[in-house]
Every structure is written in C-alpha cells, then in structure tokens.
Subunit: 236 residues, 2 copies
C-alpha cells in the first residue's frame, strides 16, 4: 500500500493551538514520500517537496533548498505515482480543482493532484519563522506576506482531504506552488491557469504520525475542537 | 513503526451515515493487527480480535469464532505489544481508564489499553445484522440488545482516540469485552472491576484505510460533519 499512502506528520489543530515546534528532521520525512507540502519550525515558511528535495519559501520570496536536518512541524507527503488526467487552459484554480474532484468522484477520499505548466496569475502566502515562546496565531498572521506574479511556469502540489478530517488536516484542497526557476512559490491563495497539465493519484491509505516525543504536544489542552472551524477556513 | 501503529478501516461517520456494507474480509484485516475491535456487514455484531482470531458477539449472546471471509465494515486493530502498567481492584471502568490515561499523560495520542481479570459487573451492547437497503441508525438502535453479568473473567480491549479525530473514529475510549469462556462479550457500556491487570501500548502512528472501491461510499454525501456530534456521544 506504500505507493498510494498519504503520510501526514502532525495535525492542523497543533498549529491552531500554537504548537509550532519543528520535531521531525526533513531526512526522516523523506522516508515517507518524495513529494509533498508542509511548514517548518515556528511556521518557518511554506515547504514544497519535489523529486525528493525539500524547498522552503519564506518571506524573502524565492525558494531555497533545505538541508536534511531542517525541522518540520507539519507536513503531507506521498510517493509520486501520478497519471495524466487532463489539460486545462484559461481557468480559475478553484473551478479546475472542483472539476478534477468531481470527474474522479473523489470527494470522500484523500486525493493527490499535480498541476504543471504556465500559471497566468498566481497569489501565494508565506510566513516568517517565530521563536519560543511562540506568539498567537493572530500575531503570526500579521507576519505573513503575500506574493503575486504573472505568467510563471511551475508545479502546484495539491492534497484533497475529506470534510470529516477537518482539524486533523486541512479539509478541502491544500495547494503549494514552486516555480521551475525557484524564483517564486508558497501556499496558494488564488490562481488562474494559462495552460497546465493535471495529473492525479488516488490515495488509499492515510498514515498519521503525531509528535509523541514532544512534551509540549503531550501536555497541551487539545479538547476544544470547536476552535478549529473558524481558523481553518481562514487559513485556507 | 509497524509495532505501534493503530490500523483503522473505515470511519465512524460512515456508520452514522448508514454506509454499513462490509467491504474488508477478516483475513485482510488480520494482516494489519492481531488484536482489535470492530463491527461487521450491516452492523453484524460487535467484533473482538484476540491473538489473531476474530470473534463476533451478536444479539444471541455468546461469542462465535469468525470465518476468514467474514466481511468487516469498521475496525481498529494493532499488533499487541503491551507492557504491564498497574493492577486495579474495586473500581469503576471510567475512573480506571481516566487514571490510566492521566498517569501516562496520553490524552493527545492514540493509546491502546488491555484489561485482563475478573469484572465484578459488566454491561454490554450488541447489534443485529441489517440488510440492504440499510435502515436508519435509529432503527438499528432499536434492534440493539444489552447484556449484563457479574463476576466474569475476560479481556477488555480499549483504544483511546484524541478529540480532534471525532467522526474519523470514536473520540475518547472505545471498549469491547470478551469472556475467557466466550459466554459473554460486546461493546462495553459500563463495568466495575473486581481485580484486573491493565497493560498499555502507546501508539505512534495511525493508519487509516477507506473503502475506496465501494461505490456507495464514494457516492455518499459526507459533507455534514455537524451530524457527528450527537450520534457519536450516544453510541459510546
């Protein structure tokens, strides 16, 4: 089942509750997948893993290659085994992703989507690393920056998570982008495709590893799951 | 990571939404664990897996050994690797489980608990198999039976699931019992221990497999997660 397993480290609830410590070295994460998305210690940028290499897009803009000892707080990775689904031209991101999901009847399963080609317009977000004691999520949101560019060639990695997993992961679509020339990337907020090829990989198994050696995680009060509703939809 | 992985097949949401078809043969489930709990096709009884053998407690009362082709709808299994934690005498189930969880600071992780010994009093529930088209959960609840007995020797298998996984699994404690002589068992509603030994196994990874080959599951509308709040607490 390895090929079609989504491996997730940590939960979205952790981030919402300010448990931001990076506890998994990138080298360990890469044992569970060669493609993926995530964030680093103290919300240290937006991560993209492509062809087994980790990249970070932080507030400075361009992507940087990460060392193997880079500490990851939250990540979703898989072993790339996509097959081509369809080409799209001149379409909004949300419209395109909904079409992919609907045509594959995939709304109740985990689903990996890979979009490669020219993006006519794309707006992304990235974060600045925070240090202990970690500030509130509101403070962190203040330190986020947004980037926008046009006519850029690159790869967008998307994982779809069914609604019942809200708080465990990001329910719905979660997209990170990396430009081919590494000049641009981040957590995708909006985009318009110019001409892209979409490949898909249905996921059969979801494997979650929690930071069970981290005392702050073990000691946290994580009983109030109603807090997840607002924050997650805002952060998407 | 195999040893300390909880493998779950299906979600609680599926049961709530009436997706009751058994889609995984017991023989397949046993590849992922030799101890566990679950339910069968059409909520066909309460399952106990012990030492790699599957048992069903249905409305008739005693446990029966299951054939390998028995179809499972929902299950949690793991590979037993418990270590002794503590002996308990003359204590209520809920009090005992809370003590185990608190003393192990395990409220934020998946946690397996095994209780062996003499139960002074125990009340269990079991269900009657339904057939397609499956009735509503209310109708199924009407077909449930409760059993009660005293001074019985057996094994209780418990999985603790953190709150954020509500709807994915049964958040909190989920306990199934099997008497040593197979005369009694089921989903535990209440119990008082006479003298038992509790062993524990902290779980590091949670691996979920969804019935992605089942068209009814794929086609279902599973977007209303608010429905989970009531039904899950009622079914615990």
């Amino acid at each position: 089942m390895t090929k079609n397993t989504l491996f997730q480290y940590g939960t979205m609830q952790m981030l919402v509750e300010g448990l931001l410590e990076g506890t998994l070295p990138l080298s360990e994460l890469l044992k569970h997948g060669n493609i993926g998305i995530g964030t680093g210690d103290g919300v240290d940028g937006e991560l993209v893993i492509l062809d087994g290499v980790g990249y970070k897009i932080d507030v400075s803009g361009p992507a940087v290659k990460l060392p193997e000892d880079f500490k990851v707080t939250y990540a979703d990775v898989s072993f790339a085994d996509y097959h081509k689904f369809k080409s799209y031209q001149n379409v909004e991101l949300v419209e395109m992703l909904k079409d992919v999901l609907t045509k594959n009847n995939a709304q109740n399963q985990f689903f990996a989507i890979l979009t490669k080609g020219v993006f006519k317009k794309i707006r992304t977000r990235s974060s600045k690393k925070s240090h202990k004691p970690y500030p509130s999520l509101e403070k962190i949101a203040e330190n986020q920056v947004e980037f926008e560019t046009e006519n850029i060639t690159g790869t967008m990695i998307t994982y779809y998570t069914p609604p019942v997993f809200q708080g465990v992961g990001v329910s719905g679509f979660h997209n990170h982008f990396l430009a081919d020339d590494l000049s641009f990337g981040g957590h995708v907020l909006a985009a318009t495709m110019k001409g892209v090829v979409v490949s898909i990989q249905p996921i059969e198994s979801f494997k979650l590893h929690l930071p069970v050696d981290n005392q702050e995680f073990l000691n946290a009060n994580l009983t109030d799951i109603s807090k997840l509703d607002n924050v997650i939809s805002k952060s998407e």
